[in-house]
């Protein structure tokens, strides 16, 4: 074996993963080639450093494991699994996931969270600053493929502004307000566009408004006429709902 071929095999050699033959060839080369030996020591150092960097745990991960385990293995929930045991295994997995976690994230909440986080990080500032819902309606006119009619600014809330954007690839109006000082994003999409989010469509058929959680945020989705209103923020479900109703009540 020549140097370049040996070097290709060095990491697997260090893992003791090579066949006996190949391993013998590499070690025979290393006996006579100081450069490759130095390279091997470097590779070992690098692997050790990579191992440390990638294996280092974070406290939040430990909590994630504990919560996941307790939700999966507590006795109360085990009963659901027994009940579901008659169905096919994959169907059980899906069904149980729904039973165990009625508030888990769904398609639309992921998209909302991504947009809201970007707003919080300052990546997506409002295109227009607005202090009244009338200003926001004027801004959206012509920018969205549907008309937006709003109620008033929710009590206890300061309107920050708005922009037209996309949830996944669905056009939407994004309104930002600080409710009780907490940043909240409201998204408006057309009901006819709901097909882009099959999970939320089926959930809304069961419960309207629909609530779920996404990381630290509460998420609300409800229908109002031919619009779907979505809200996300670190508020209680109740507070999120009253604010959404006020903002979107166009009577």
């Amino acid at each position: 074996m020549n140097c370049s071929r040996v070097r290709k095999f060095l990491t697997l050699y260090l893992d003791s993963e090579l066949s006996a033959e190949a391993s013998f060839e590499v070690s025979r080369h290393l006996e006579t080639c100081a450069d490759c030996r130095a390279r091997m020591e470097g590779e070992a150092r690098f692997e050790a450093a990579a191992n440390r960097a990638l294996s280092a745990s974070e406290p939040e991960w430990t909590r994630a494991w504990e919560r996941a385990a307790s939700r999966t293995f507590t006795n109360r929930r085990r009963r659901f699994i027994a009940v579901a045991a008659a169905a096919s295994i994959l169907a059980i997995a899906a069904g149980v996931a729904v039973l165990l976690a009625p508030h888990r994230e769904i398609d639309i909440s992921r998209a909302m969270t991504a947009n809201h986080r970007r707003y919080l990080a300052g990546d997506l500032p409002p295109a227009v600053e607005a202090s009244s819902t009338a200003e926001i309606e004027r801004y959206f006119a012509g920018r969205l493929p549907f008309a937006v009619t709003l109620g008033k600014a929710p009590s206890g809330a300061a309107l920050m502004g708005a922009r037209s954007c996309y949830l996944d690839r669905t056009p939407c109006g994004h309104i930002v307000a600080h409710v009780d000082g907490v940043p909240v994003s409201f998204f408006l999409i057309e009901t006819s566009q709901l097909g882009a989010f099959p999970e939320v469509s089926s959930r809304l058929a069961e419960a309207d408004p629909f609530h779920c959680e996404s990381g630290p945020f509460r998420v609300l989705v409800c229908r109002s006429g031919d619009r779907v209103l979505c809200a996300i923020g670190e508020l209680s479900h109740e507070r999120l709902e009253t604010a959404t109703r006020e903002l979107c009540d166009s009577r």
């Binding site: 450093a49 960097a53 990638l54 494991w65």
Partner: protein, 189 residues
């Protein structure tokens, strides 16, 4: 009688590696708790299919891998575009690369500030299969034979993918290190 006792014992033995594995494989660590829960649920429901005496670690890592891939697919639109393949390089550049590469191997943290962050980022820029295989090795501590069973590929393919993933990570770090060496400190890129 507790049919899930074996499973919870098995999971608990692997919890640190499995958690770090999922956290690094996922595009968004915000999905970690959900991904772990889904992994546990599927394991619980399929546990009767697991043959005692066979490789539990490969079995559970396979479930975790497929689960995380599923979460990553849902976040596809959030990913940065794949970097374009590099064009041919001159001999000088080849030599310079070789030099940076050796420097990195000699003293990883000395050449690149925040070496650990760079390394995690390089790992995240691999495609899902390569990242999974690299993490199964470094974080999960699986052998190539176990990796092959986990990913359901032949042993040679697993070894080849592992080698390629490692090379890609090293190349990315070399590129960043070269950029650092060429830019005066303070001009952070």
């Amino acid at each position: 009688m507790n049919p899930s006792k074996d499973l919870t014992d098995g999971l608990n033995r692997l919890r640190e590696g499995l958690t770090a594995y999922c956290a690094r494989l996922l595009w968004s660590t915000g999905d970690l708790e959900d991904a772990l829960q889904e992994t546990m649920l599927i394991a619980l429901n399929k546990h009767h299919e697991f043959e005692p005496g066979t490789d539990f670690r490969a079995w559970i890592y396979r479930i975790a891998t497929l689960t995380c891939f599923g979460f990553n697919r849902r976040r596809k639109h959030e990913r940065p575009a794949e970097s374009a393949p590099e064009s041919a390089v001159s001999l000088e550049e080849e030599l310079e690369r070789e030099y940076t590469y050796e420097e990195i191997l000699r003293d990883p943290a000395g050449v690149l500030e925040n070496f650990e962050d760079h390394l995690r980022r390089a790992c995240l820029e691999l495609n899902d299969n390569e990242r999974a295989i690299l993490l199964l090795k470094t974080v999960g501590g699986l052998t190539c034979a176990e990796i092959a069973r986990t990913m359901e590929v032949p042993l040679g393919t697993a070894q080849g993918l592992l080698t390629r993933a490692r090379m890609k990570v090293r190349e990315k770090l070399s590129t960043w290190a070269r950029a650092k060496l060429q830019n005066p400190p303070g001009v952070d890129t």
